[in-house]
Symmetry: none
Subunit: 217 residues, 4 copies
């Protein structure tokens, strides 16, 4: 008995459309999270931003957490792709590699911020989703480790270790130095200088120190 037809966004019937819509949701989630990384945006806001109804989001993801798990996985893929590309060249210098990595991290704060939420995030994933998610991550890490071993001439197994530790160091430093806007104001006083170094410099230095130690004879 409806008399007015409510505007419905074009129906996604084929796989291409569906993938595009899924991407819309992810993009909306990503951008909202970037705006305020202290909590996951609500489904309502994601839907609004993606210009979809709340319910529609649930036809693409079974859980809010899954959205962010997907985002996380994408991030990891991107980082590993970067690594693959960096290592692809003839004889990459360590400095170049670190430089490329740091630039990437700096340009993609959502990667690190999402990462800081991972613990909380993985919580409501169904066991299956969790399995898929972790499997994908593990495969990626192992692949990346292999590349690293090849490039730096590391013994088997070391690649994964070193990669994990680089990752851990980066994650830790990011969390240590990424202050939300309100905090920046408070921290502008000179007393706080020791905890307010430049992130890029800090990361470059720390990584250099670590890698030197890790690859020393």
């Amino acid at each position: 008995m409806e008399h007015e037809s409510r505007p419905i966004r074009t129906r996604a019937n084929d796989d291409v459309d569906k993938a595009a819509r899924r991407e819309d949701i992810l993009e909306a989630a990503r951008s909202l999270f970037l705006q305020d990384s202290r909590q996951l945006p609500s489904v309502a806001r994601i839907a609004e931003k993606a210009r979809l109804a709340k319910g529609t989001v649930y036809t693409y993801f079974t859980t809010k957490e899954e959205i962010f798990a997907a985002l996380l996985a994408d991030s990891l893929d991107a980082v590993l792709a970067l690594l693959a590309q960096g290592l692809g060249g003839a004889q990459p210098s360590l400095d170049t590699l670190i430089e490329a990595f740091v630039s990437y991290i700096e340009a993609h704060p959502e990667v690190s911020r999402l990462d800081a939420m991972a613990y909380q995030l993985e919580r409501n994933l169904s066991p299956e989703a969790m399995h898929t998610h972790k499997l994908r991550a593990t495969m990626g890490l192992v692949a990346g480790g292999g590349l690293l071993e090849a490039a730096l001439g590391l013994p088997a197994g070391r690649g994964v270790k070193v990669l994990s530790r680089i990752y851990a160091l980066t994650r830790g430093l990011w969390q240590w130095l990424d202050y939300p806007p309100e905090m920046r104001e408070v921290l502008s006083e000179p007393v706080f200088a020791p905890i307010r170094p430049d992130f890029r410099e800090e990361l470059v230095e720390a990584l250099n120190e670590y890698v030197r130690g890790a690859t020393a004879p």
Copy 2:
């Protein structure tokens, strides 16, 4: 608006009792958080665990966040005390230091887990509380840095840097390797071996690598 009074636990009238009660609340919060570190326990649960009425918690802390900020501050103090103690001896070997640190971290998971929440936590602190909190942390870090410089013969300013990076590496590794119970089950499959090393070994190795790199000539 009638209230019948139920039996009261005991009345904290002097400062000693009050401090004890405050500690009860902190302890309740700590233990609940340890049970499920994916989110801060609710005030209701903290009160219940501390065997107090919800309202009572608010006579000791003005905000839920303050409880956890206090916990965080306590953790930091403890770690720094450990450092001071470790560095106090005549000529501490690096291995001994790392060993003591790692043991502490392993024995006090709430420290690292709390830390993983710090970002989210500090958010609702009032600017004043935030200031106090960060000031305390900064002072502690600077003091620790000084001790480290003295012990390892580092140039001025290096202590804080090295300490921060040790901290970052630890934080990152912890978050990487501390899986919630449900996840542990999923990860028991052999495929996941690369992301499931022993935390202690991993941390010892990583710290050794880093420190070696950081203190190399």
Copy 3:
């Protein structure tokens, strides 16, 4: 965070149904307030009375205060409609007008009671809501004033004045004479006769006195 769904009352999908549901909420609020006018009923009670979930109320009103602001606005509209109707006739006698007004007030105690809360009510309205609310009221008053001027042959501007004062007198008398049930019992003693006259008579007399004074040459 699992939710089991309980049976839903019905689903208001078109605008008509939605308006009806909105009206249900308003009606629930109105009737609860009428039962105890000393405070605004809680959203929980309103929802219960309207046989809706608490959350549902918030899909129709963004704030508790808005519910009552809407009620207030409706009351004003009704009174003004009454006035318009009363003044619409050929040559309305003052007595008839006052009679109609008083009957209305007597039959709609919630109007006066709500009014007594207006001060407190308007407080938490957002500035925008407040603006809208007050604008609507002002427009209504001005329109009513115009009608009154036409009907009674008053000079321009007098209508609004006289109407406001009639309103003020009514409001004041109402608050003076509308006793809550518990109080009525106490006031049944003869000593209290002076403060317990019949509201209707009192209002009629007072309005007559005022209007006579206001329209005297």
Copy 4:
């Protein structure tokens, strides 16, 4: 077993001291209410302002509401005293009386504001307190009515009526025109001029109109 003696405010042992302390509480309540008249201040704030402990307040008043009932009664006394004084002179002109009354009201906003809360206030009074309270008010009103009759040569019984209506008109106008600060800003737009006249002028005019009508032959 207390070792430190907590600072206790001088003990009020005789009636004079007790009355003074009672007055402190009333004064604190009055001033807080004046600062924000949209709700009764909390007992905690009253106690703080009076430099007393919360519990102490309850040794002087059995209920929060009683504090304000007392304030209300005091206000009434003051207004009636003013009336008595104004009517005491030889042959007071009506204009002078109204002038004095209006000045008083304008200088004592808490009287009108408290009044606007009366309904809500009287709620939790015990039946006895309510009785006392209302009796006092009735007696005052009757006395004032007598004075008015004598001064204006009104027939018996008219004094109370006229006085009540003057009161009602004043109350109504006050509530109509006393805007909280936030609202004043919103109402500064020209559209709102009709509902933003000067309170004093408005009250003087309205009272004159009413009294003229009430005393006309």
